[in-house]
């Protein structure tokens, strides 16, 4: 069990709107969200001593800039001891928080700027985006030659899950509707018009049973947050958010090598995180669950212990995850509605958890939220990462 509980906090957040912004450079997303996070934390820029830029997918040249301290130079940060990239695809949010928290806990760093930006919406053509995700993280000897890509991956998982649980397409689709209910209230989301089950079910079939509107949408976006000690966070801001527990499991690299397509490692990861926090699912006010496709949000919610296996679909369909529902879930709208910015999809969900616990979520603020559980997963859903956060120490 880690020693971060209650000792590490997030003091500030920033985010640029997610969507298609051809006129916005990728570095704009980094710099603007970082400046916001620094201001939100009320921290002097030169007291930041460590920068963690998340990996960027749309351009390896741009990513090389991040690796070699361009963010430090752009922001004129004069107190930086290290700039080190942390990247585990969609699970980067969890990895960055664990690394930044450990640096602070150990004393290696005092104040860590964590920042992400990507340009997957306008930095690539449509087919280039499809082709990028036909290779990224997919085994080039044993899976690529058979036409594996992210829609077929979601299709394989959804098909087996339906087979084992009897969950219907309508229930799975209800995840998209729930996410959209939240995105309607999120000015940074890409898609904000109401969405119906009928509309999703009428969209074109990509890879059975996944339809176009079950899919996330590649987008431009960026977000940032400042990790520091709990003590310094309390001095800086009235709204620190504490890291209370974390857990993770890596189960495969290639989807075909996963032993249980309907569970992955969420149950064990969540058990570790809840044990460290001294909390259980019934104590959680908000579930910020990584989607990218509805099936992964459904499986995570069940395996983390919020709802019984096979009952998740009905839970979403009944509106229990919606604004005003008993378990507000994925309150930024997830990658299906806010948009998928590569490694940033998970960062946006993590930042949303901070935002809610800081009481800064505007129209979609969950009243009296104290504790949030956050999930993330990367690549072909290779891992299950869980963080428990709170605006008080549990």
């Amino acid at each position: 069990m880690s020693r971060l509980k209650g000792d590490v906090a997030v003091a500030g957040i920033g985010e640029v709107p997610t969507g298609r912004y051809p006129e916005r450079d990728c570095m704009d997303g980094c710099v603007i969200s970082a400046v916001q996070a620094i201001a939100d934390a009320g921290i002097k820029k030169d007291s930041i001593d460590f920068v963690i830029p998340c990996g960027t997918v749309f351009s390896s040249a741009y990513n090389s800039d991040l690796v070699t301290s361009r963010v430090v130079e752009e922001l004129g940060l004069k107190g930086i001891h290290n700039n080190a990239q942390v990247f585990s695809g969609g699970a980067s949010s969890a990895s960055i928080l664990k690394v930044a928290g450990s640096l602070v806990e150990s004393g290696i760093a005092r104040n860590v700027l964590c920042v992400h930006s990507d340009k997957l919406g306008t930095g690539l053509s449509g087919q280039a985006g499809i082709d990028l995700f036909a290779y990224a993280g997919i085994h080039r000897e044993w899976e690529v030659p058979f036409g594996q890509h992210y829609s077929s991956i979601a299709g394989l998982v959804t098909t087996r899950y339906k087979h084992e649980t009897g969950t219907t397409d309508e229930q799975i689709t209800a995840v998209q509707v729930s996410n959209r209910k939240w995105a309607e209230l999120n000015p940074n989301a890409m898609f904000r018009k109401p969405l119906t089950i009928e509309e999703v079910m009428a969209s074109k079939m990509l890879s059975t049973p996944i339809r176009a509107k079950h899919s996330n949408m590649l987008a431009d976006g960026g977000a940032a947050f400042i990790v520091t000690s709990a003590e310094r966070a309390r001095d800086l801001t009235d709204t620190p958010v504490y890291v209370l527990g974390s857990g993770g499991r890596v189960t495969h690299h290639s989807l075909s090598q996963e032993a249980d397509l309907t569970r992955f490692g969420y149950a064990d990861a969540a058990a570790d995180a809840f044990a460290e926090a001294g909390l259980s699912p019934k104590d959680i006010d908000i579930a910020e669950i990584y989607d990218s496709y509805p099936i992964f949000e459904l499986i995570a919610l069940e395996e983390m212990g919020f709802v019984e296996r096979g009952q998740g679909g009905a839970f979403f369909l009944e509106g229990r995850t919606w604004p005003g529902g008993e378990l507000p879930t994925t309150t930024n709208g997830g990658m299906s509605s806010q948009g998928h910015t590569g490694g940033g999809g998970g960062v946006a969900i993590l930042v949303e958890a901070f935002r809610q616990l800081m009481g800064k979520a505007g129209e979609r603020q969950v009243p009296d939220a104290r504790f949030a559980a956050v999930s993330a997963t990367g690549g072909t859903y290779v891992d299950a990462q869980i963080e428990i956060l709170g605006n008080q120490i549990s």
Binding site: D131, G147, A154, H163, L255
Partner: protein, 141 residues
């Protein structure tokens, strides 16, 4: 002139050093998997060391060629470039009785007839310069 001529080919496997014998056997219509002499584990895909015990005492054994579909998905739209001409095609994970799983395509049947846990058997099909191990419904000669 046809659209398919303008489309990119299906991507060939990027053959690894340890995977090369598999592709050579496939050319001769044999489905082989690794077997660890140290711990008796059957292994697929081919590994540099046994993933269970890290031994390098790895042999090849011929698999029965039988399997069951663990899960599947029929790709109908938005395939990767090299597969646009093949749509609809079926991606599946097949579990072999030897205790390993592999990604493949299901062929020689109506995609609507496919279901989870369906028995299948291997059939090799040439794609570009490779013979890929694909699967068809068992007993469907």
């Amino acid at each position: 002139m046809t659209q398919s001529e303008e489309r990119p080919c299906r991507p060939e496997p990027e053959v690894s050093r340890v995977g090369a014998p598999f592709w050579e056997a496939a050319r001769n219509g044999k489905l082989i998997i690794q077997h660890c002499r140290s711990c008796n584990e059957n292994i697929f895909y081919p590994r540099i060391r046994c993933p269970k015990c890290h031994s390098d005492a790895l042999d090849w054994i011929e698999a029965s060629g039988k399997g069951v579909i663990y899960s599947y998905s029929v790709v109908q739209n938005n395939a990767p470039s090299g597969f646009l001409a093949d749509m609809p095609y079926v991606v599946a994970i097949v579990r072999l009785p030897e205790g390993v799983q592999m990604l493949t395509n299901i062929v020689d049947c109506d995609p609507d007839s496919i279901h989870c846990d369906m028995p299948v058997e291997v059939v090799f099909r040439q794609v570009e310069n490779f013979d890929l191990p694909l699967f068809r419904p068992a007993g469907n000669k």
